[in-house]
Symmetry: none
Subunit: 211 residues, 4 copies
DNA sequence: TATGAATGAGAATTCATTCAT
DNA sequence: GATGAATGAATTCTCATTCAT
């Protein structure tokens, strides 16, 4: 289990260990099924100390979710895309998309267990959904919007489409690609991710009909 | 909360009530967080009787998941697509896709809470993933494969793409459409689903680049 | 340990056992020091069932305190005095006082451990004090007031005293008598309570100076 | 919260702070409910240092109780009465009693929270009762006995009473007066304590019957 | 000596499961 | 079969006490 980089949060050693173990166990078993005893054991600390750093078990989840959504969304989730869209306005669309997808896959790999927890809790709890929407989805949509508009102005991308639909389509293609790797990885072994991504981009850009 | 039609399972009244309530509560709070007391109360039965029908709480989940995956995959999930693909081989691709998407949305609406439980538990537990893969994904892929092959032969759909990628793309577009409605419905109000689906299909079929 | 009669409360068997054991243990060790495990053991029930009848441990205390203060104050604490004062207006003051003191001692004997808990919690918590004052002290004062006024009118008891002071004096003499028996019983063995009470009444009625 | 003068104990600064805070918190919440963390915080010291000075939390209680009972009983509690009884053998009984009551009220005001702790713990624990009895009650009784005997010899106070009963009566009248002020102070506002005490003495000395 | 982080035993509370009725 | 009271193991959380610094 790769450890998520939590250095940005300025936590002390134990606090970080607890969070790391919580992320691992919440993502493996779900929040309710992971016990404070297991977390303590995995983190190599006593059970008591957990409740010094986090008043309740729920607070560990909150730290993972809201804290990280708010603090890290900008740094980790959005920064990558912004940079690519900014630096590559002149590049061809295929290259840009490839960079984005690569970057997203790398990013999700980095934060995967955490992302999974957020994802699952977002399904169950509206407050989390709100945080995800406002901090990630909404912002990502705005960035994408600007980018698409410029590409459309240059006559590279179609003007007669609903940008929202396009955004969703690209996002979902990335998501399912990751899900396939992460969740159903055992059934689908890709040998060459580079080629796989090219194929996805081809379908996104050119559709599936014979022109 | 719409009730899922479980008549096909030949359950007796109490057993069905218990399953209905479990589906409702598992989908609302997650499996671990829903208690047998709550289920009993919601189902209007005694706690004791739950364990007559289902040896353990886990068995309720299994009943919901495995039982329903196996039984319903054929009857509800796959039947629809098969019929469409069978009956519409002559129709134009746009119409077929529209029918499929419509059918899937309708179907998911029908089984939504159950699908959500399956989905979440599949993320956590390999045995569920296996059941989902073998009973649903694999079968759906086979059907789609046949269909795509025929469309490609007729020179309607591109031959130079990876069918797996296309399958995933369509699936993910449907999934994100449903997720947006079900999970993030509060942020995105579509007025006209018919038009929305047309837009999605346009992007899938034609891509986003100016040809 | 004599058991307090809780039949008036219409509790079921286990609930009553739990309350009895709680009263016993709270009075022996104080509320905080008595554990639910001990209570369960003493009551001969499982720890779990305690929390079916009383949501929290604090609720057991509340049941003992407020419930009993409110419900039983009238029946147990005040009824006795009322009856004596009502029925004995013609008797001589010595006899009345003796009856009252006897009755109070008997009554406190009956509810002693409970009374002790109320007493100790009243020292610590204002809400309890309020309940004690409003349900017991205030009412007792009113009853005593009426009685004293009539005795004073008949020229049996002095008019030139503060009734509040007299009330307090009698009350405190009873209280210290009981405390001596209950708390410091080991140091003071009275052989003949009847005679003891006569002595107390003598002092209350006639004072200690040579007239 | 008035601070009790502990200078007589030759404690160092920290030790005294810890005791002061313990007295405050034990009297406010009871011994078991007050935590060492709270005490440390209130005393402005670290939790660790508490256990340097007092091996266990119980030892703080012992220090407060036994230590203070033993040391203070002689210096503060009994000295006052002794002095009064010694110096005022010639004075009239009313003046003496008034001095005693005044002195006791002043004294209890000074040590109130500590006295409350002693009182409550004495109810619960025999060892505390022993200490209270042997160090305070017994000694006070002896002093009172001497005093009463002399007053009786001078034909000022009645010979035909049980001195124990008289002692108890006076003690209880003082106690209830203080309790009323301290515990039920919110319900009974005396404007003039001097007059109040006169009334109490009147009742003690002359009784309540019309002679 | 002094700190306060860390411990772990034990407290309150929950809950799947059993069982007498 | 059906009930729901009862169980007790497991869970979350607390706190006196210890210990590295």
């Amino acid at each position: 289990m790769k450890k998520i980089d939590l250095k940005e949060l300025n936590l002390n050693e134990k606090e970080e260990k607890i969070l790391q173990s919580s992320i691992k166990l919440f993502s493996e078993k779900g929040f309710s099924a992971a016990t404070s005893k297991e977390i303590a054991k995995d983190a190599g600390v006593s059970e008591g100390i957990i409740f010094k750093y986090f008043k309740t078990k729920k607070d560990i989840l909150k730290a993972i979710l809201l804290h990280l959504i708010n603090i890290l969304s900008e740094k980790i989730v959005l920064k990558g895309i912004k940079d690519i869209f900014k630096n590559d306005k002149e590049c061809d669309i295929k290259t840009v998309l490839k960079k984005v997808i690569y970057d997203r896959i790398k990013m999700v790999d980095k934060i995967y267990p955490m992302a999974q927890i957020i994802f699952m809790e977002a399904i169950l709890h509206e407050e989390i959904r709100d945080a995800v929407y406002n901090n990630i989805i909404k912002k990502a949509m705005e960035i994408f919007n600007d980018f698409y508009f410029q590409m459309a102005e240059k006559n590279i991308l179609r003007k007669n489409v609903d940008i929202m639909v396009v955004f969703r389509s690209i996002l979902s293609n990335i998501a399912i690609f990751i899900a396939q790797k992460k969740i159903f990885g055992k059934y689908f072994k890709f040998e060459n991710i580079d080629k796989e991504i090219d194929k996805v981009i081809d379908v996104i850009l050119n559709g599936i009909t014979v022109q």
